[in-house]
């Protein structure tokens, strides 16, 4: 009886380990095969959002012809003097990736959410050109507390304020940015 239990235990563990190995291998293969495609989609979505926000449909083409988005903390200067960059902030359901446009005078030109995992129906007022997101327009860094709170979404709202404020302070501490 004891011997059978022991064999069973070993056999079960062996099957589990082999199964885990096969699944990890398969996932790794599919990840390798799809990562580039996903990256292309995400970049396209980023630039579509940026062009809509900046009101300039030639943004993508003038971006050195490069299809990738500006790295977090490395914003690019547009031809008209505005600054475009992305940042990430810790929301309620995970990181919120933001796209931020700054006017030449340092005020905010607009903010858009690139991706987020906030609770559906409660935290998704940050998705798209909602009136709430419109509040950021033409504010300065010190005025971010004027942004309205949202019942049930305090953490989301604070994360958005923190993300935008952090982006502005990083940018103002940098001297030169690559010009687009």
């Amino acid at each position: 009886m004891n011997a059978t239990t022991g064999t069973n235990l070993l056999k079960g563990m062996a099957v589990l380990v082999i199964l885990a190995g096969i699944i990890i291998g398969a996932l790794d293969y599919v990840h390798e095969a799809t990562a580039d495609r996903i990256e292309v989609h995400q970049n396209r979505a980023f630039w579509a959002l940026a062009e809509e926000l900046a009101g300039d449909s030639t943004l993508h083409e003038s971006a050195h012809g490069s299809a990738s988005r500006p790295e977090i903390g490395k914003p690019v200067r547009l031809k008209d003097g505005r600054l475009l960059g992305s940042t990430s902030t810790a929301g309620y359901g995970g990181d919120i990736e933001l796209l931020i446009l700054l006017n030449p005078d340092g005020s905010i030109g607009g903010v858009r959410t690139v991706r987020h995992a906030e609770t559906p129906g409660i935290g998704d007022f940050i998705q798209g050109a909602t009136p709430w997101m419109g509040q950021f327009r033409s504010l300065h860094s010190g005025q971010l507390d004027f942004i309205d709170g949202r019942t049930g979404a305090t953490i989301t709202v604070n994360a958005m304020r923190r993300g935008v404020r952090g982006f502005i302070s990083t940018v103002s501490s940098q001297e030169s940015e690559p010009t687009l």
């Binding site: 069973n8 056999k11 495609r37 996903i38 129906g121």
Partner: protein, 234 residues
Amino acid sequence: MSTSGNTPGNTLASAVAITASHAFSEGVITRNTAWVQMLGLCPLLAVSNSMVSSLGLAVASAFVLVSSALLVSLLRRQLPDFARLPAIMLIIAGATTLTVMLLEAFAFDLYSRIALFVQIIVTNCVILGRAEAFASKNPVILAVLDAAGTAVGFAIALISLGAVREVIGSGTLLAGMDTLFGPTAADWTITILPTDLNMLIAVLPPGAFIIAGLLLALARALITNKPTGETHAQ
């Protein structure tokens, strides 16, 4: 489960065929996950505000259901009792992650709309239930048929709810199908109601509960009126 009177030839082949068709049709009608067993209602209610989202989730769930049933059934003799549940969870989680990556790579726009609900397929009780109750005890063909039947039943529930909510809430049918089938599907949209007759509540969560309740009542009435409609839980 199949009654003896149903097998006139009484050959093994016909008995197998009847069991197989039974495994499939039970999942579609008499054991329909949503309308009879009331399982998997969270993604059902949350995603079904348009037909394209419903279809996307139905396809993703079907893939996970069938592939996990196949693997669990293949491994059923190799797995001692204690290792069965971990193995099933491993398989379901792997299949779900695979689906997420494939959807994100090939249907990005649709994925960004239903992302969260595709990821939580991993916790869908229907899939774990079928893998544990049926696939781990039955041969591969039966397990796959049972999973396919369950998937079709879930898809019927999702798509019917999605269609009703889209017509009442947005006045259209098949809108946004290009996010799943490519640009050629962009003009499949059928406008049924003019915009000023749309009832926004239908696409919001409360509308999901109201319409799902009405459809549930209808489905119950149809299923219990059938002469062979005794529902037995597996």
